[in-house]
Subunit: 333 residues, 2 copies
């Protein structure tokens, strides 16, 4: 067993895309488990767009990562030592363990994984926060009804690909928006959306209007920016826009607000933000439904796995903003 725990800490608050100088690499002794604690060796780190927001100062839905602190990250780990009655050595667990090789935990907010159901990485994707985010955003905030026309941006990404699949399962007509022909192929062929639009091609608005002549009932937005403005012009009466993310804006020093927001009035539509954490008491029911679809082959889990060390985290994070991943981006340690 190694004697050091390599860690990645936030060194400075980035302006624009995070640079290497915004990070600090440290080594500490591998922590020991005190009474009621366990130690996990991190095997997989979840790489999420939200991480960029956690690096900023200011008011948000959780406190920013402090300068000098280990970067916040969800991850999968294997228990290597335990003084906790609920966790045994060898258990696989999910938790917010941070960008480091070992984490000590008292078990709060930690989920034990059922590996008879799925491989560990699925618990970062369709069976994890990613799947839950898509589930509650679409069904609760988006109030999806059978027959709705649904548009999902970031459709080849982690949350988007699951949101579109759930919309199909629930009887929606689903159009994905993604960057590039290869991603669009994936969106229709692998994730089973009815159609995909490559936003890099011109005339997104016109294409969307052709594909959704009756207007868009639910727009699940992961990207913000120009695409949000385009979809705003194609809303059906009483449309629901679900604000899940705005990856196009996270590295902008000047955020682009949706100039077409008055279309909300024209369409009597709503734009609503949500956070998956608010649904913690309903995770079990959602997990059960997601797992059922997954076992039945109705829900495909797709991951982009980068293999390396925690020190590859800064570079791996940038892949998200380059749109280099399809499905869930994971750093396998």
């Amino acid at each position: 067993m190694p004697q050091t725990n390599r860690q990645v800490r936030l060194a400075a608050r980035p302006s624009g895309l995070p640079r290497l100088a915004d990070w600090q690499f440290t080594n500490e002794a591998v922590p020991a488990a005190g009474p009621g604690e366990f130690v996990a060796e991190i095997t997989h780190l979840s790489i999420d767009p939200a991480m960029r927001g956690w690096m900023n100062a200011g008011v948000s839905y959780i406190p920013p990562v402090d300068i000098g602190a280990v970067m916040r990250a969800g991850g999968i780990g294997r228990v290597t030592a335990s003084e906790h009655p609920g966790f045994a050595v060898g258990d696989y667990v999910y938790g917010t363990f941070g960008v480091q090789e070992y984490a000590v935990s008292d078990g709060r907010g930690v989920l034990k994984l059922d590996l008879s159901l799925a491989e560990p990485t699925a618990y970062l994707g369709v069976l994890g926060m990613t799947g839950l985010t898509a589930y509650f955003g679409l069904l609760d905030t988006g109030r999806l009804k059978e027959g709705d026309t649904v548009v999902v941006s970031g459709a080849a990404g982690a949350v988007g690909s699951v949101a579109g699949q759930i919309a199909k399962i629930k009887g929606g007509q689903v159009i994905g928006i993604a960057g590039g022909q290869e991603k669009c192929r994936l969106v229709t062929e692998e994730f089973g959306f009815d159609a995909a639009i490559d936003y890099r091609l011109p005339h997104l608005r016109r294409t969307l209007r052709e594909l959704a002549p009756g207007g868009v009932d639910v727009y699940f937005d992961n990207v913000g920016g120009e695409i949000l403005d385009d979809v705003l012009t194609c809303l059906a009466r009483k449309a629901r826009i679900v604000i899940c993310g705005a990856i196009s804006q996270y590295n902008e020093t000047q955020v682009r607000g949706p100039a077409n927001y008055m279309m909300l009035l024209v369409a009597r539509a709503s734009m609503t933000g949500f956070l998956v954490f608010d649904y913690a008491d309903r995770y079990p029911e959602a997990m059960a439904e997601l797992a059922g679809w997954y076992r039945a082959g109705q829900l495909v889990s797709r991951e982009t796995l980068v293999t390396g060390s925690v020190e590859d985290f800064p570079e791996t994070l940038l892949k998200l903003f380059e749109g280099a991943n399809t499905g869930k981006l994971i750093l396998a340690i």
Copy 2:
């Protein structure tokens, strides 16, 4: 009785503020009432921010006013001739009669006024579309609850002044935003808001945070622009933003979208557009409640009356965008 009906028609679609050249003044013969019709002499024209939108080409909630057509306007008239069993000479009526001295109507969408209850102009204000807009926007779209902290922009204006008064009646803590000290005085002293903020002074955001330390539960927005962005940073959890109008943007060729819209996610909040016309089947219940408050002195009707001819319409419309009016702006013919 005069032989001519003076009219104001849309001559061109304006860019920015409407200019005199965007209008055309015509004279026609006073219309006659055919079977099932009546003729009304217009006594009061409703001057509304929404008129600016009706002058633009493109998709909206109603078709644009055609070039060459009499400008659309709500108004009060006195019936001067009738072949309609439901309307008698001398009746006062409200309808979308247009910017002209006489209108012929088959009675559809026309309301007969009860002058025992209120003077005619009140039917353009608290007892008319203005009051109904405030009522449904606040109570239905805004889902106002007793104890909510409510912010209303355009608080000294027609809809805003009524929205704030209704919020007080329903048990809200109400903060108005208006331009200038005189309007702010009116907002608190005449309309009974708990507080008013002069948006022309610096530090709107800070002042709002001091007045609403627990955050804003309902924001009734009439103005858009920078003020919307400021209020977005002060939302309470599960806040509802009601998009009623965006008068600050109506004459902009480049609309400013709310750059802080991701605060909807942080606050798990919603931003929803509505149109009063959708509530037509509930107008009677709302009118009854508004009339009750009005009779009881709980609801103050305030009007800015400009006296002139229909040809003063273009100039009167501009007063709205100068913020020259308090309460309902009316052109009395």
